[in-house]
Amino acid sequence: MHPFNYHKPSTLAEAVALHQGAEDPAYLSGGHTLLPTMTQRLAAPSDLIDLEGLTELIGIAVDNGTLSIGAFTRHAEVAASTEVQSALPALAELAEGIGDAQVRNRGTIGGSLANSDPAADYPAAVLALNAVIHTDRRQIPADGYFRGLFETALEADEVITRVDFAIPSRAAYEKFPNPASRYATVGVMVADFNGTVRVGVTGAGPCACRADAFEAALSARFDPAALDDAELPAIDFNSDLHASAEYRVHLVRVMAQRATARLASL
C-alpha cells in the first residue's frame, strides 16, 4: 500500500474541509472496498479521511412512515436492529445477506451507496423503497442517484449522512448470490406501497435500476405469473466470468417472481 496521510476529523464540516484541502483525497468509511483496492495498489489516495465517529452519521430512527439509517451504520447493525426488523424486515434480511459476517461487522450503508458497486445489495433497496439520500449539502432522490458503473450523483467531496427509506406495506428481497463472494449475481427487491409496486434491480447492469414494466404488471395484478411476459429493463446486461448476459436476463425475472411469490403467499 502506498503511503498516505491519515485524518480523523471530529465534525462533518472538518471532514469536508480536509477533503477540499487535500491533493487526491478519499473518505474512509467501513473500508471494505477502498482498503483492498489500496493494498492491491489500484488506488493511491494522498489523504484518507476517516468518517468513523462523526455523530452526524450515526443513528437509526423510525418516524412517520420513514426509516432513517445513519450513513456510518454497519451492515451487522442494520441486520440486528430491532427498529429495522420491525419497520422493514426485508431490509434487515438484505443486510444479513451481504458478504460474510466479518465484512458485515465493518462495511457501512453509506460506504456501499457512495461506492455503487454494480453487484451491491443496498442499491436495489434504495430504488424499490424510494429512498432519499441525505448528504452534507442536499437531499438526493433515489431515482436520480445511480448514474453508471461506480458512478453516482455525489460530488467528489460530498458525504452521505443518512438514508431515508419509505416504509412499504410489504417488501421482499431475493438474490442469486455469487457462491464465493456473496455479491448479487442478480438481486431484486419488490416493494408494495398499498397497491403501487416498485421494483429495484441490482447486479444486472452497470448500476442498479428500476424495472418499470414489472412495476406496472405487479401494480395491476400482484402475482408472479403477471411477470411471465413483462418487459425487462432496457439496460446493457453485464456479462462476466460469473454469469453471461443471457443468464442475468433470466435471473432478473426469476428473482422478481420469487420475491413476489414470497409476499403473495403471506
Binding site: G31, E52, S181
Partner: protein, 165 residues
C-alpha cells in the same frame, strides 16, 4: 503516527506509518504470528481477530482504525501467559473442540476459524449444521476440512454454554 491500543489485555503505545494494516502491526511489530495472512484481500478469513469483540479481517483494517480499541488474537483466548501448565485445560473451549474433533489439517485457517466461531457462539443464535456453515462463510479452509470444523463448533457451542451457566 502514534497509536495506543490494547492487545490481548496488554496496552501498547507504538509509532507506526499510517499505511500499516492491523495484521502487519500484530505480526511484525508485536510478533503475534498466530494471526495468518492468506489472501490479503479480505476473502479467506485467516487473519480474523476480534476488534472490540467483533470478528474482523485484520488485512482490511488499518492499525489506525484500532486506535483506543481492544484487539484479541488467537494468542489471547486461552489461559493467560504465566498461568499455563501445559495441559489441555490451557486451551479455550473452542480450541479444545478443534483439537478433539480433529478440525484442522494444515492449520493455516484455524486461528481465523476459531476467532470467528467464538463470535458466532457468543452471539447466542441457534447453532446447527446450517447456521454454522453460513456463519463461517467468510473463512476458507483450503484442506476442505469443513466437516470436522462444523462438528467442532457445535461441540464448543455446547461446552461454552455449559461454562457460562
Amino acid at each position: 503516527m502514534n497509536l495506543t491500543l490494547t492487545v490481548n489485555g496488554a496496552e501498547h503505545s507504538l509509532d507506526v506509518p499510517a499505511n500499516t494494516l492491523l495484521v502487519e502491526l500484530l505480526r511484525t511489530r508485536l510478533r503475534l504470528t498466530g494471526t495468518h495472512v492468506g489472501c490479503d484481500t479480505s476473502q479467506c478469513g485467516a487473519c480474523t481477530v476480534h476488534l472490540d469483540g467483533c470478528a474482523v479481517k485484520a488485512c482490511t483494517v488499518l492499525a489506525a482504525q484500532a486506535q483506543g480499541r481492544s484487539v484479541t488474537t488467537i494468542e489471547g483466548i486461552g489461559r493467560p501467559n504465566g498461568t499455563r501448565n501445559g495441559s489441555p485445560d490451557d486451551l479455550h473451549p473452542m480450541q479444545a473442540a478443534f483439537r478433539d474433533c480433529h478440525a484442522l489439517q494444515c492449520g493455516f485457517c484455524t486461528p481465523g476459524m476459531i476467532l470467528r466461531a467464538m463470535e458466532l457462539v457468543e452471539s447466542g443464535g441457534t447453532l446447527d449444521n446450517r447456521t454454522v456453515r453460513e456463519g463461517l462463510e467468510g473463512n476458507i479452509c483450503r484442506c476442505a476440512g469443513y466437516h470436522n470444523i462444523v462438528k467442532a463448533v457445535l461441540a464448543a457451542g455446547d461446552a461454552m454454554q455449559e461454562q457460562s451457566r
